[in-house]
Amino acid sequence: SPTGDSWGIFTFLCAALCNLPALPALNCSEELGAGQSIQQTYDLTRYLEHQLRTLAGTYLNYLGPPFNEPDFNPPRMARAERVPSATVDLDLWRGLTDNARLAANYRAYSRLLCYLRVLDGQVGTAELRHRLAHFCASLQGLVLSIGGVMSSLGYPLPAGPAGPPAPPGAHAAPNDFLKKMDDFWLLKELQTWLWRSAKDFNRLKKKVPPAVVTLRLEARGF
């Protein structure tokens, strides 16, 4: 079906984009010298969480019922597992090294950003497109910020998604309803990640003394 093909093409493009190294961002942080501010990254996650609340409300209304009902509590299906989950075992989360903690955040937001950009190309209303575009830009800023913190601490940036890109149409939702379910879970995972990141960066704040440096966020034209 035509919708299936376009979803597949987008997935392929997305995977290709994600495999591009984030090195341009590294140059940015090196220019600024020692230490990135973990506090600033924390503040960014709070800002994004606030933005997401408005965006999610608008988007879920666009999807229509039952997605915009507050009680909507669907079971998690296997296909939703493609979106990285913030859920983690309590003791495991506590025991994460700084590197692992930062890397998990970096990987998650990079992938979530990809999926969101695909969404951006498909939505109906101009208002929604505008909001999504704005959110994607902010989210990219967060990815860069996390990358900057990692570099300044001497940690290598995680590589792109492992393996060859999936063939076009491999993950396409078979029908309109399931496509909307994918969107629903994407927003939910994004919300959960932002809420988890606040806690991750709280922990990092205590363990790594922040160095306050202004970060110039340049649009990298993605």
Binding site: E49, P75, T87, V88, L90, W93, T192, W195, A198, K206
Partner: protein, 335 residues
């Protein structure tokens, strides 16, 4: 053997005297008291529109031999109304607890059954010994996207009812109020009050899950509160207190990022520092005023000896007068 039966308030109850025939001659008693024959239909006891006061032990005796033929304990009650259920996490990220109660009593024994479902998993909510009607659950995973569904079923002999709560992990986070709130005046600062407090002891990990605080204060004589929100630290200095007025102060806590504010802490009272009053109602006052003006730091010890309200009788006056002389002598030495 004695039986037990439960009946609804307002129901009509017919009690049979065991295996006795309908036309047998029997006597019924309730808690040892004979029941009038007008309530009998043959050997059956008829109770219409029963009420709570009719609960008790009913016994049936054969007419002539006074053999006990049947005995039952009647308990009048109601089926349960929809229970009230509340779940809260005051010890995030350890877990949460749920507590419940019935909005109206049933007057008969009830059993409560609680089930917790997380996605497809059934979780066990461990019942607390104290208080009753409460259970707790430990989180196995954090940052879950799947909601928790808690169902409470209440059952008794006359019926059952239930209620369900569905919530996200972060939605039920509500710490206990801050503890050990202390407010003190700040010496030589008539408009300041120093407030300090501690994290609630039930909050297990304030390092990784820091709390922020909300302070509210007002002088007793006014109704409107002033508020201050503090993102870290467990103390604050109020700098705009009205001089000499007693204040009431409370603090609340919230996880920095998620959930809702705690209830207000226990209220503490404090009055800002004021300069010690120099007037006394004795003759010694005159001596004191002259000495006090030259060495004001002497004033406090004097007022200790001569409490404003306690100067009665010549004995006290003599003490005051002597103290005043001593003070005058010392101040002369110091000049």
């Amino acid at each position: 053997e004695s039986h037990l039966q439960y009946e609804r308030v307002g129901a009509d109850v017919t009690m049979k005297c065991g295996s006795m025939d309908w036309d047998a001659a029997v006597t019924w008693t309730v808690n040892g008291t004979d029941i009038d024959e007008s309530h009998l239909n043959g050997s059956y006891l008829i109770l219409k529109n029963v009420n709570l006061s009719q609960s008790g032990q009913y016994s049936c005796y054969e007419g002539s031999s006074w053999h006990l033929k049947y005995q039952t304990f009647l308990r009048v009650g109601t089926p349960p109304k929809e229970p009230v259920l509340m779940c809260r996490s005051n010890n995030y990220p350890k877990g949460f607890y749920c507590s419940w109660h019935l909005p109206t009593p049933t007057y008969i024994p009830n059993t409560f059954n609680i089930s917790v479902i997380h996605g497809t998993k059934d979780m066990v909510c461990e019942k607390d010994a104290v208080p009753k009607n409460r259970c707790h659950i430990r989180y196995l995973q954090l940052f879950s996207t799947v909601k928790y569904k808690v169902t409470l079923t209440v059952t008794n002999a006359l019926g059952k009812n239930f209620t369900t709560l569905t919530f996200d992990e972060f939605a039920i986070v509500k710490p206990d109020p801050p503890e050990s709130v202390v407010a003190k005046p700040v010496p030589n600062n008539p408009r300041r009050l120093e407030v300090s407090w501690q994290n609630p002891s039930s909050w297990p990990d304030p390092e990784s899950f820091p709390l922020k605080f909300f302070l509210r204060y007002r002088p007793l004589i006014l109704d409107t509160w002033q508020h201050v929100e503090l993102s870290d630290g467990t103390s604050h200095i109020i700098t705009d207190a009205y001089a000499g007025k007693e204040y009431i102060i409370q603090v609340a806590a919230k996880d920095n990022d998620i959930g809702t504010w705690s209830d207000w802490s226990v209220a503490v009272h404090a009055t800002p520092w004021t300069e010690e009053p120099k007037h006394l109602t004795t003759e010694a006052q005159i001596t004191e005023t002259t000495s006090a003006s030259t060495s004001s730091f002497m004033a406090p010890p004097t007022t200790k000896i001569c409490d404003k309200g306690a100067v009665v009788g010549s004995g006290a006056m003599a003490v005051c007068w002597t103290a005043g002389l001593v003070v005058a002598a010392y101040s002369v030495l110091f000049i």
